[in-house]
Every structure is written in structure tokens, then in C-alpha cells.
């Protein structure tokens, strides 16, 4: 805590530090994390399944088909 009889700028203290608590800056981003973490994987699996079901014959790929579900 600093007390001064002159404005802070005059003694070289920063005055643009703001009043926002640090966690607030990233709160929105961090709220998006569980959403992405839970929604993206099923979406990706669904896309891959949909693609495979529309494809006539499965080509010989890198992955084995078994146990992928």
C-alpha cells in the first residue's frame, strides 16, 4: 500500500494497472474448455462414422477397423 501527497505519476508509479482481477481476463476462455472437451470428441467421432458409412468400400487404411467404436 502506498500513500503519497503527490499524484502517483510524478513518483513513477504506474496508474494504468486497472481494477480487474486477473482471473477475470481468462474466465471466458476457461469456461469454454469443458465445453470443447466434451462436445468436440463426439462430434469428431460422428464425422468419422458418417464418412465411413457413406463410403462404399473401406480402403485399406493405416488403422485397424476393429475396436474403434
Amino acid at each position: 500500500m502506498y500513500l503519497a501527497s503527490v499524484p502517483f505519476e510524478q513518483i513513477g508509479l504506474r496508474t494504468n494497472v486497472g481494477t480487474t482481477a486477473y482471473p477475470v481476463y481468462t474466465k471466458e476462455f476457461l469456461y469454454a474448455v469443458p465445453v470443447v472437451l466434451t462436445l468436440l470428441p463426439p462430434l469428431l467421432v460422428a464425422m468419422s462414422r458418417a464418412r465411413r458409412e457413406t463410403e462404399p468400400a473401406d480402403r485399406d487404411g493405416e488403422h485397424d477397423e476393429k475396436g474403434e467404436a
Partner: protein, 420 residues
Amino acid sequence: MKGAIERRAGLLAEVRSFAAFLAREARPKGRVWTPFNVVSGLVMLVGAVLLVIRFAKGLGSITNLSQDYPWGLWIGFDVITGVAFAGGAYVLTFMVYILGQEKYHPIVRVTVLNGFLAYLFYAGALLLDLGRPWNVVNPIIGNAFGTSSVLFLVAWHFLLYMLAELVEFSPALAEWLGWERVRRILGAMTLGAVVFGITLSTLHQSGLGALYLMARDKVHPLWYSEFIPILFLVSSVFAGLSMVIFEGSITHRVFQHRVGRKLAASHDGIVVGLARIAGASMVVYLVLQLLVFAHGQRWVYLGTGMGAWYLLEMVGLVLVPAVLFLRGYRRGDVRLIRAAALLTMLGIVMNRLNVSVIGFKWYAAERYIPSWMEIEVTLAVIAAEIWVFRWIVSRMPVLGAAFERPRVVQAEPQPRVAAA
């Protein structure tokens, strides 16, 4: 009794032949005293000496880092830029395993390997930068679960993503060792690892940007915005793809004998396809940047020196290469595409450094400039990564092998058949 002894002898012979195989593989293949080896070897040697000094005497002994600038080149370039370049792995696995674009299958392995090594070395370089590197386990073992911290998220994601990439790459390892059953098990885990890996990548590519959300007053307003996470994510797409194109053009020259005829024939088509995706994602990125530019009313800064620097980045190293990419795609011009990839990579380096180093505390009277030793160590890390990459590519089925599949693996199985 006799059976047990025989089994033990068999096991011993197995272990011995395996050790012999590893010893054989550990030996260098090809010439040792090449100019590249000498130069990069020296760079690593000097880097190692500097690192001994750094760990003995602390960060201040070889870096220009201070309380005012705790994050310098090792974070801004090695970690933040390196991870963006490693983005090719998640983009390609998405295209091949999720969208089923088999055309790109031949380069998946080398890209995943590249991504994995990038994380191992460049995120690993984080350890050099930590004042007390042993504390790096704290976020993992729960000594400090900082669930409201982006850094905590990034720490976990780095770890998990490295594991996911290791699983994605592991079939190549198993093939190299000649472990067919293990390979099948690992191969079955690929899709799971890919889905997990893409999700993690989305979050930590943007997470690296989110770290800077907290530095609202420190990052230059031309680079700060609430959208940094999204901009980092979108730019990691073309950063990664440019790296894939760049790496491919070198790999195909150096490892000609490992590439295989099929991949060599299809590679130009692959590059042209990648150019289209890179170009398109750059257009998306530019539109986003334009929105952020207007939203933040950034035109007031354009007249300054930083404004010129910003324009150079956005026009010279994003817009121009985007046009070159799309033109290269139209004409099927691989050389033009390579030039575009190089420009794009420069732009990414510039962008990440602008956020993390150059535009960081841009107002301060005393600025951070990395010491030559910081640059040296960075070069040493890159050299070490290239050495490991080369070692793996010249031994394991990374290039070509993945799609010329029925071919049996390099690992000579004869000694072990004899032992069994």
C-alpha cells in the same frame, strides 16, 4: 524343470538378439563428417556448455531475462512459435482419419513424428526456462491444481498431447521392432488418440494465446485483443501446414532412398492440396484480423513504427503468401507454394514474437533483447531435434512405408526367429 530352463535360455537369447538389434540400429547410417553434422554438432556442444552454466549459476548467468521480462526468447520462440509449427499434426490427422482424405495418408506419419518431436523438444525447452524446473510436476501431481489458470491447462495439455501423439506414432515403432501383435493393438488405438489429440490441440493452441489475455496493458494494442486465442488457433492451421510443406521439401531431398516411389510420385499433388487448405485458412485468419482491427479501432496506431511493423506482418507475411498459396494451387506450381510456405513461417515467427516479446511491454524504457547465448541454446535445441528426427526417419517406417503397406518392415526378424 527342464522346460523352465529352456524357456529361460530362450528368453535370454531373445533379449540378447534384441539388444544386438538396438546396438546395430544405434550406429550411424551414412557419413559422419558432413558439414551439417560438424556445424550442428558444434552448436549443440556449445549449447550443452551454456546449459551447464545456466543450471549451475541460474538463469541470469546466460540470459537477459529479468523480473521485468521473465519470458524471453525461450518461451516466445521455442515454446509459443514451436507449438504453432507443430500444428500440422492435428490438422493432418483430422483430414486423414476423420475426413478420410486418403490422399494425405502417406505423410501422416512423418508429420505426427515431427509434431511429437516439436513438443518434446520445444515444449521441453520450457524446463530450461523454469527457475526451479523440478517444480514442473506440481500441476500434474496436484501439488497446485490451479484450475482457474490457463498455464495449468497448457501444462496438462502438453503432457496429454505428447502421449496422444506418441500413441499415434507408435505403430511405426512397433513395426520397426517387428512386434506385429503390439502393432495391431496400437493401430486400433489410433482413432481414439486422434480424436483426443485434435481436441487437446484446439484447446492448447488457443490456450497459448489465452495466456496473453492477462497482459492487457502490456501487449501492444495492435496485437492484443480478446480474440487472441482464436487467432492463435486459426493461425496454427496454416503455420502447421507450411511447416509440413517446408519439411517435406527438405525430407524428400535428404531421405530420397526412404521415400519410396509411390510417395515421391504423389507428393506434388499432396503439396498442392495442402496449399489450398493453407491459403483458405489464411483468408479466414485475415478476415478475423480485419474484424479485430476494426473492433479495436486500431487505425490510430498505424502511423507509428509499430504500425508499419504490423502492416508488414499482416500484408507482407500473411496476405501475400495467402495469395501465393492460392495461385500455386491453381497452377499446380510447387515451387511457388514452397516460397509461400517459407513466407508464412516467417510471418508466424513474427506474429508470435510480436505478441510475446517484441510488442510485450513496448512502452518500457529498457527493453529485453535476447543474449547471444539464448539464441545459441535455441539453435542447439533445433539441431538436437533434427538429429533425433533424422535418426528415426532413417530407421523406422516413417516415409512411404505407411502406405506401401504390405511391405515387410526393415527390422530384420531372422535372429529372433532363430532364437525362438
